[in-house]
């Protein structure tokens, strides 16, 4: 999957519907993998998120922080077209992935989700065995030809998600028998089993103990070499520790309608956000003086 961006590919350019577009990388400059301009999200009449302009850079960890209800999950779910599944959700604006309009008419959302994996806010294992949970993605994507290949993928994914040692003896038992934290790591294993380019993680550590959290953070640090990661977190230390760039969102009440709309306040390298932010609201939030 990687290597498709090599210059040699330029000669046999593939159809636009192929998502292996070439990122607009300039010499010396970092390449961005996602490019959002004037992104607006509505749920029915509710204008949930307004005018987000945000570049996500390849092979980096970007953290989304902000108070509850500010639209972090909503924005995150735009990146893999997960909002398509909510009938009342509407996304407007520009959102490009490697230079391709993600919401273009020729884009297949199923293909998008194979490349851009997701770990959800609540652990959501399938009501199947541990093995089946991890094998499901590779199966539906037609990734493995035989059983032993699938076994390998399952083992590798569980190891990367720091869960293998705890479950290797009971791969055939139900995933519901795992603790909440184990279930979340299982969901991470499930997401990386299809070898995506990008990993979207919505508060992946909110149900984990400090040890498991540390493991997940180490895991993310390791994954960073191959994947682009966007993580939503309420844990300031975590965001400061692991993210390269941090985006701070907040909500403001619309004076006329009384509805709360989320917006991106500041986006910068993590150090700057946590030590010397430009915006006062960011400073109040990261120092715990919010609201």
């Amino acid at each position: 999957m990687n290597g498709a961006n090599n210059m040699s590919d330029v000669n046999n350019m593939t159809d636009v519907s192929d998502l292996n577009g070439t990122a607009n990388s300039m010499n010396g400059e970092q390449e961005h993998i996602f490019y959002a301009r004037d992104l607006n999200i509505y749920y029915g009449d509710h204008h949930a998120v307004a005018d987000v302009n945000l570049d996500i850079y390849s092979k980096e960890i970007t953290a989304f922080i902000g108070p509850s209800g500010c639209g972090k999950t909503s924005v995150l779910r735009c990146y893999n077209r997960m909002n398509d599944l909510i009938p009342i959700a509407k996304v407007e604006g520009t959102l490009e992935y490697k230079g391709l309009n993600l919401y273009g008419s020729q884009i297949d959302p199923v293909e998008v989700r194979r490349r851009i994996g997701m770990v959800f806010q609540k652990p959501n294992p399938f009501p199947k065995s541990i093995y089946e949970n991890v094998a499901y993605g590779p199966k539906v994507c037609g990734m493995s030809r035989n059983r032993s290949e699938l076994d390998d993928i399952v083992e590798r994914s569980l190891k990367r998600a720091a869960l293998w040692d705890e479950v290797k003896g009971r791969l055939k038992s139900s995933a519901f028998g795992l603790s909440g934290g184990q279930q979340q790591r299982l969901c991470i294993a499930r997401a990386i089993a299809v070898d995506p380019d990008v990993l979207l993680m919505d508060e992946p550590c909110s149900s984990l103990d400090p040890i498991a959290t540390t493991r997940i953070e180490e895991l993310m640090d390791g994954l960073k070499n191959d994947y682009t990661i966007i993580i939503v977190t309420h844990n300031m230390q975590q965001a400061a520790r692991i993210s390269d760039k941090t985006a701070f969102f907040t909500t403001e009440e619309n004076a006329e309608t009384g509805m709360r709309t989320g917006m991106l306040i500041e986006f910068d390298i993590a150090e700057k956000i946590f030590s010397n932010p430009n915006d006062e609201r960011t400073e109040n939030y990261v120092t715990g003086r919010f609201g």
């Binding site: 893999n80 997960m82 599944l85 009938p87 199923v110 293909e111 989700r113 194979r114 994996g117 997701m118 959800f120 609540k122 959501n124 294992p125 399938f126 009501p127 499901y136 993605g137 539906v140 994507c141 139900s174 519901f176 969901c187 499930r190 997401a191 089993a193 299809v194």
Partner: protein, 333 residues
């Protein structure tokens, strides 16, 4: 509480009291507590009354039918319709075969069409006014009296409406035939199958579906691999219960011209030619024999025996439904 008060000794009572106060912090205020208990006893009493009525009915019928079933079960099951109850050859074979085929028709037509319709309505249909309207009407159809379905079957299959396509139906099923009965009862239970399947399909938590979409599953893969397995226990129970409803229906079959007097045909269980022939079914035999017992008292106990046999099969189907549901639920957890 008052009833059980005397049955418990002091220490147990104190113990329970203590654990209750500990668990709840404070005791429930007196009035709502009494109301609660009262309501519970009323509900239990009502439940008992209906169970007792049911038990009395079943026992009464079992006693009435006991003679026939114990002395000549074999010939009763293999016998045919007769005009006099003393006739040696009297029995319910034709009714059993008829009801069997009705069940087969329901399984072959109503189940797949009903489940497919439910999947379409739940997963594919746009959530707009038209869909709502259709769903509402399916609910209404489920409440339409069964005689009306009998009329529908009568016009389509037996009379062959004066419309080209519907005339074809008549020649296809052969008028007042077993196939006509099977198809009519399939139509009758179709709304029930759709509704119960739809309810079952709704039970899957949306986060599980999202998890499947999240790793790149297509819509059909999500339905096939997640939604259907999750809904299977509910769908199975619903469909099998609708099957027992179908084999218990008499009214539509009377309109379709089920045979009550003497049916010359005596075909085996798997003789396909009988589908286009005249037919009878268990509920028809029961209705008819019960009516006849005024003139010929012997029909009464034959009817009772037939009821016991029908009940046996209905309970068998229901038990299968429950066992299958438990099996699939265990697999799910």
């Amino acid at each position: 509480m008052a009833i059980f008060g005397r049955l418990l000794d002091r220490r147990t009572k104190d113990h329970i009291q203590k654990s209750v106060t500990q668990a709840l912090g404070t005791k429930r205020s007196g009035r709502s507590g009494i109301l609660d208990t009262l309501l519970r006893y009323i509900i239990i009493a009502l439940l008992f009354i209906s169970l007792i009525i049911l038990a009395v009915l079943i026992i009464d019928i079992a006693i009435d039918g006991f003679d026939v079933l114990s002395s000549r079960l074999g010939s009763f099951l293999s016998g045919t319709l007769r005009s006099r109850s003393v006739d040696e050859g009297i029995g319910i074979q034709q009714g059993l075969v008829g009801s069997f085929w009705i069940a087969v028709f329901v399984a072959v037509f109503a189940f797949p069409i009903g489940i497919a319709a439910a999947i379409y309505l739940e997963e594919y249909a746009p959530k707009n006014r038209l869909t709502k309207f259709i769903e509402l009407n399916i609910r209404n159809l489920a409440g339409v009296p069964s005689v009306v379905y009998g009329l529908l079957g009568l016009f389509i299959f037996v009379k062959g409406f004066d419309v080209f396509l519907l005339r074809n139906f008549k020649s296809l099923v052969g008028g007042s035939s077993l196939a006509a009965a099977g198809l009519t009862l399939s139509i009758l239970v179709l709304p029930i199958v759709i509704i119960t399947a739809q309810e079952a399909l709704k039970t899957i938590p949306s986060i599980i579906k999202e998890g499947a979409y999240g790793v790149g599953a297509t819509k059909w893969q999500v339905i096939r691999g997640q939604v259907l397995p999750y809904a299977a226990p509910g769908i199975l129970t619903g469909t099998l219960l609708s099957m027992s409803r179908a084999i218990g229906e008499a009214a539509p079959l009377i309109l379709l011209g089920a045979v009550t007097g003497r049916l010359g045909l005596k075909a085996g269980l798997f003789d396909f030619y009988q589908l286009q022939e005249r037919f009878t079914a268990m509920p028809i035999i029961i209705t008819n024999w019960t009516q006849k017992q005024g003139r010929d008292i012997g029909f009464g106990e034959n009817a009772a025996a037939a009821i016991v046999v029908l009940l046996f099969f209905v309970l068998l189907i229901n038990a299968t439904a429950i066992l299958l549901r438990n099996y699939f639920e265990k697999k799910r957890a």
